[in-house]
């Protein structure tokens, strides 16, 4: 087990090095740090002096090495547009994205588990059929279309819910939160509903398939034979054993949700990390872009490694399959 953990961590460090190399190459080839610093009105000779002072004429590997050291200390360069450290800009946008993902995850859990269980217990009922048909169609609908449809229905036609921005936020120890105002909560409804629509079909199908598989097993038959109450067999005996695969998939998909926030944040003008990333692309703000790449890379690598290690603890087959 110890060897497994070490191997996973080495792999994670290796992946981070690759991501940082990609990030460094982008910064090295596309951005112009001198322009970021002094603007256009400086003579070429003066620029050359600054280049030398900043060490931009050093060989590639020296500069890359410096980049990695600085990144480890939390210095990912200055954002050209905001004139602030890139990491600080990202940190100021992160709460919006994180709150969106939290609410989405809650919706996913609250909707998919009961719907999946119901569809597994009564596969022939009309409700299950509708749920399964809807999840087939749902896979084919891109998230931005769901979002636009929700905006058109609830914001333009019915005028019940706001369609853009975060509304009123409260500052809690530097964390801009929309959880504590009625307005902020109202603004969360549509973005999180559309974001959860991507994952809902997958999760309902997953819970249903796992539950159906468990219901066929011997120990469930034994539980029936013992004459246990239906509720007890379903929710205590069967459901508990579907949780492990569901939690694993959930962990991995949480990372993917972050990817999709870029799309939802664009539609809803939600000023989170994804929105900031697209703005950075439009403004050619290379340092901010690279910083975002590194931050997202860290999130993915950490989530994946933790999920793998936890899974290794629970399921010995995983950690043995990796050894050659």
């Amino acid at each position: 087990m110890f060897a497994f953990i070490i191997r996973r961590i080495i792999q994670a460090i290796f992946v981070m090095l690759i991501i940082s190399l990609v990030g460094f190459m982008i910064q090295h080839n596309i951005g112009d740090p001198i322009r970021d610093l002094v603007g256009e009105r400086v003579t070429p000779a003066e620029r050359e002096v600054i280049r030398d002072q900043l060490g931009l004429n050093d060989p590639f590997y020296t500069q890359y090495f410096r980049f990695v050291i600085k990144a480890c200390k939390g210095d990912l360069g200055l954002s050209f547009f905001y004139k602030k450290p890139a990491l600080e800009v990202i940190a100021s946008k992160a709460p919006a994205t994180i709150e969106l993902v939290i609410v989405t995850a809650l919706i996913l859990i609250v909707v998919s588990i009961p719907a999946g269980i119901y569809a597994a217990i009564y596969p022939k009922s009309w409700f299950s059929r509708i749920v399964m048909a809807a999840s087939t169609v749902g896979v084919a609908i891109p998230v931005f279309l769901t979002a636009i449809a929700l905006i058109y229905l609830f914001a333009v036609e019915l005028n019940w819910l706001p369609s853009y921005g975060r509304g009123e936020t409260v500052n809690l120890w530097g964390w801009e939160s929309g959880f504590f105002t009625w307005d902020g909560l109202k603004h969360l409804v549509l973005p999180s509903a559309s974001l959860s629509s991507i994952m809902l079909p997958l999760f309902i199908r997953l819970v249903r398939a796992e539950m159906m598989e468990v219901l066929e097993t011997e120990y469930i038959k034994f539980a029936w034979a013992k004459g246990l109450h239906r509720q007890r067999v379903w929710y205590v005996h069967a459901f508990k054993n579907t949780l492990l695969p569901v939690i694993t998939v959930f962990g991995v998909q949480l990372g993917i949700l972050f990817a999709f926030t870029i799309l939802t944040e664009t539609v809803f003008n939600w000023h989170g990390m994804g929105f900031m990333f697209l703005e950075a692309v439009e403004r050619s703000d290379t340092s901010l872009l690279v910083a975002y790449l590194v931050v997202v890379g860290v999130i993915f690598v950490v989530v994946n490694t933790v999920v793998d290690i936890v899974y290794g603890f629970v399921n010995p087959m995983v950690r043995i399959a990796g050894t050659k």
Binding site: I30, V139, A140, V143, I148, Y152, V156, A259, V281, L293
Partner: protein, 305 residues
């Protein structure tokens, strides 16, 4: 002729004829593909030619509404282009990019999977590590980052000009690991069968065994993933275009049409968003349904609730 007879008595055709959903989705898909190919003949307007449309016609509603005009059946978009023609051209672009990207990713993935599975050893561990690493990062993130980098590297103007080949490369590069894994798995299954051993014994070269003998036997799962991957590629393209990282508004794909329509949805021009959106969903849905059907027919073992 012989091949036709074999096809006529095959299990594939038999199960196709018995599945109304497969027939329906196949016919819808064929109609859409034919419309795409014949777009220049069928569409009333050439939407790439700026001389044929007039900004004064912009945001005309569909023909059946008041203010609608007989000459624009589904209305016009924000630049005054006939929406129906623009949609057909847009679907054409989406289809082209989808198929192109799938060809590219299957090419890369099959090569990697074949070498990795057949040759094994250090090369296998190396290639599979790379595959694992890319697999752990969602393909959409890879696609969004690559297109953002390309956009910065090429500049907005050049990027818009080269959008179609660039998008094929971007989506192709972000999706290949799934092919590599599938092909490697089936190569590992085929590698130790008797026909491969027989070929080795009579002294056929390694390359010939790999490409002439093993590869054809691994293509069934490739076919199954390919259908679903086309749908995925079309969806990725739409997402990228919607973010403004894909096709430009002058040569819109369905995604960029939806993006431009979305900016006008608050002023009540719902049709610019709705019709391309519905077309996109139908297109993706029929491909997915066909893919599901194909998977169940070709590999009954995979079938699970």
């Amino acid at each position: 002729m012989k091949a036709w007879n074999r096809f006529k008595s095959s299990y594939l055709l038999y199960s196709f004829k018995r599945d109304p959903l497969a027939i329906l989705s196949f016919s819808v898909l064929s109609v859409l593909v034919v419309i795409c190919i014949l777009a220049p003949v069928l569409t009333p307007y050439n939407t790439y030619d700026t001389a044929t449309f007039d900004i004064m016609d912009a945001e005309t509603p569909p023909a059946w509404m008041e203010d609608g005009s007989k000459s624009f059946i589904l209305g016009t978009d924000i630049q005054g282009r006939d929406l129906l023609s623009t949609m057909i051209y847009g679907l054409r672009v989406s289809l082209l990019i989808g198929v192109g990207a799938v060809l590219l990713q299957s090419f890369v993935g099959i090569l990697v999977g074949l070498f990795s599975g057949y040759l094994g050893g250090k090369l296998d561990s190396f290639l599979m590590r790379i595959t694992d690493i890319q697999f752990s990062i969602p393909y959409l993130i890879v696609a969004i980052f690559t297109s953002a980098i390309f956009k910065l590297a090429f500049g907005v103007g050049r990027y818009a000009e080269l959008a179609v080949p660039l998008l094929i490369i971007i989506i192709g590069v972000s999706h290949w690991p799934i092919y590599a894994r599938t092909v490697r798995a089936s190569v590992l299954g085929e590698k130790n069968k008797e026909y491969v051993e027989a070929a080795r014994v009579i002294g056929i070269s390694r390359w010939q065994i790999m490409f002439r003998h093993v590869l054809p036997n691994t293509l069934t799962p490739v076919l199954v993933i390919s259908t679903i991957q086309v749908a995925e590629a079309v969806m990725s393209e739409a997402a990228l275009s919607f973010l403004g990282l894909g096709m430009p508004v002058t040569k819109p794909s369905l995604g960029s049409l939806i993006r431009s329509g979305f900016e006008y949805i608050f002023s009540g021009s719902w049709w610019i968003t709705l019709f391309p959106g519905v077309l996109l969903v139908i297109f993706i849905l029929v491909i997915l349904l066909l893919g599901d059907w194909l998977r169940d027919v070709l590999n009954p073992k995979l079938y699970k609730g």
